[in-house]
Subunit: 310 residues, 2 copies
């Protein structure tokens, strides 16, 4: 895009992004506290899948990592609050957090209609930002607004190439795979009707993501989902916990809970195609890994790399 | 035990057991309904671990199998309701069920004090019965009354040798392993404080049993338990579902839910010994199998044998 074709409003926006936001002090407040581990200092861009309810008040470890990976005080962050029914409120909340951390530019892309995704102003935002943050809410709403739009294509393209850091929390995490868990239940034997699966935004297509994972007892629903998609990798992320992908074939875990990997690569037997919707599922030979802060998972070899062992 | 040393009351009891209970008709009511599968007709003795809330009204599949495996109309059944705080009520309920099925003799061993376990009458019951049924309630109460008593030793000895069928449901299932889950929580990342482990009755020592499994979202607590005991096999049994052990090295599944096997044999890494009680657990390489009615699990090879596959 040559500058001559860019509307004045976009030029102003780009100028704004290259200057410190006026309500941020020269020495931005750093509220980060480590969890008793070394501080995650990586400045690499990444795709960050957050299990919801991330700390927004105290250590803010995960949000701070997103800020650092988006360029720290040079960060130009686009917040997409479209999963929420109160996008203005939730967008503003994240704006305050990233402003407080010292991001250079923050814009809330308050998309409430698919047509907005064709707006050159918004397209310019995502072409020039260094980080995109998708909030929680309803993943069906988020996909309904963003799926198959040129705006989302740009975000995905840039995230997959490592040009930006893309984070999604809760509903914003659920959309990351090609397939998406839209809803489901708990308190039942795993069965096909325990989970609703549709199409996500395909940021990391091979993943099948669930969030608020152990907090909302979602093991049975993720197992029910993976029974239908043995070519995917199940990733269940607890609250205030994040699976970080730097594009090097590793999943890294940060935060206070677990990331649960459900790997069906070794599964030979299932009754999935032979049974009714509410019949219990049999699956032989799932491999399950519980990973915590500092642990990694080799996505190519499908092997955990654990920090501590006994 | 020579007959001369047996009190008259016991002789009367033995005589009673060899005659049809007076309130059972000559053609006992068979309420069994299959689950759309072949009827489990095995008459072999077995150890039956039931996940609680087994059907007591309609098909009664699991209870009927216990009745058949205890000798059908020749069955002499000892009911141990001691886990319950209302042992008389729950004991009577099972007595009615097995009476209706046509058991020849039924006695409720209403043990409320450990001293009762030395009673020659009760000891004679368990020496001469063909089936023992342990009801639900509180597994700590059940173990407190029965552990390390000669009565329990007799039951365990006879069950392990295949002389009797021994069934336990809910709390009566929890006590089956050497280690026992006494309580715990859900809705959290797996962690050491999520589960209370103590010593069970050691009927099948190598198992670590949980019950009401998916119904009460107990995957995280069983994983937390198995993290402390990698030399055991985790077995999570859903309600109205039963893991049947005939002593041939196979676990067979019957009922309407799943039996979940958590096999830690391949685990190399865990942080279990390095972390605080509420820190999240990391475990690499658990093998998990979901088994349903008709499926089996080879306990020696640790391999599932699934009825249907796709």
């Amino acid at each position: 895009m040559s500058k001559s074709s860019v509307p004045t409003s976009v030029v102003k926006l780009l100028e704004r992004w290259f200057h410190l936001s006026p309500n941020v002090s020269a020495a931005p407040q750093r509220m980060f506290q480590s969890l008793g581990e070394e501080m995650p200092q990586s400045t690499k861009t990444a795709i960050m899948i957050i299990g919801g309810a991330e700390d927004k008040v105290h250590g803010r470890e995960i949000l701070h990592s997103f800020f650092i990976r988006s360029g720290s005080t040079d960060a130009r962050i686009a917040i997409i609050p479209s999963a929420s029914r109160e996008p203005a409120v939730i967008g503003e909340r994240y704006r305050e957090i990233f402003t407080e951390m010292g991001a250079k530019g923050i814009e809330i892309l308050d998309i409430r209609d698919r047509d907005q995704c064709e707006d050159p102003l918004l397209q310019s935002y995502v072409e020039n930002c260094t980080g995109v943050f998708m909030t929680g809410g309803d993943q069906l709403r988020l996909c309904g607004l963003l799926a198959d739009t040129s705006l989302m294509s740009k975000v995905r393209y840039r995230a997959q190439r490592g040009e930006i850091t893309l984070a999604g929390t809760s509903a914003g995490a659920a959309v990351m795979g090609h397939y998406m868990i839209a809803g489901g239940g708990s308190g039942e034997s795993p069965n096909r009707s325990l989970v609703d699966i549709t199409t996500g935004l395909g940021i990391i297509p091979e993943l099948l993501v669930d969030q608020h994972f152990h907090n909302r007892n979602r093991m049975a629903r993720l197992m029910s989902a993976i029974a239908a998609h043995f070519d995917r990798l199940g990733v269940g992320i607890d609250e205030d916990t994040c699976a970080v992908f730097e594009g090097d074939g590793l999943l890294q875990v940060m935060g206070k809970g677990t990331v649960t990997i459900i790997d069906p690569a070794g599964v030979i037997h299932t009754n999935h195609s032979c049974i009714g919707a509410t019949d219990p599922l049999s699956i032989g030979n799932l491999r399950v890994h519980l990973l915590v802060h500092g642990d990694q998972f080799d996505l190519r070899k499908r092997l955990p790399i654990l920090k501590q062992s006994s």
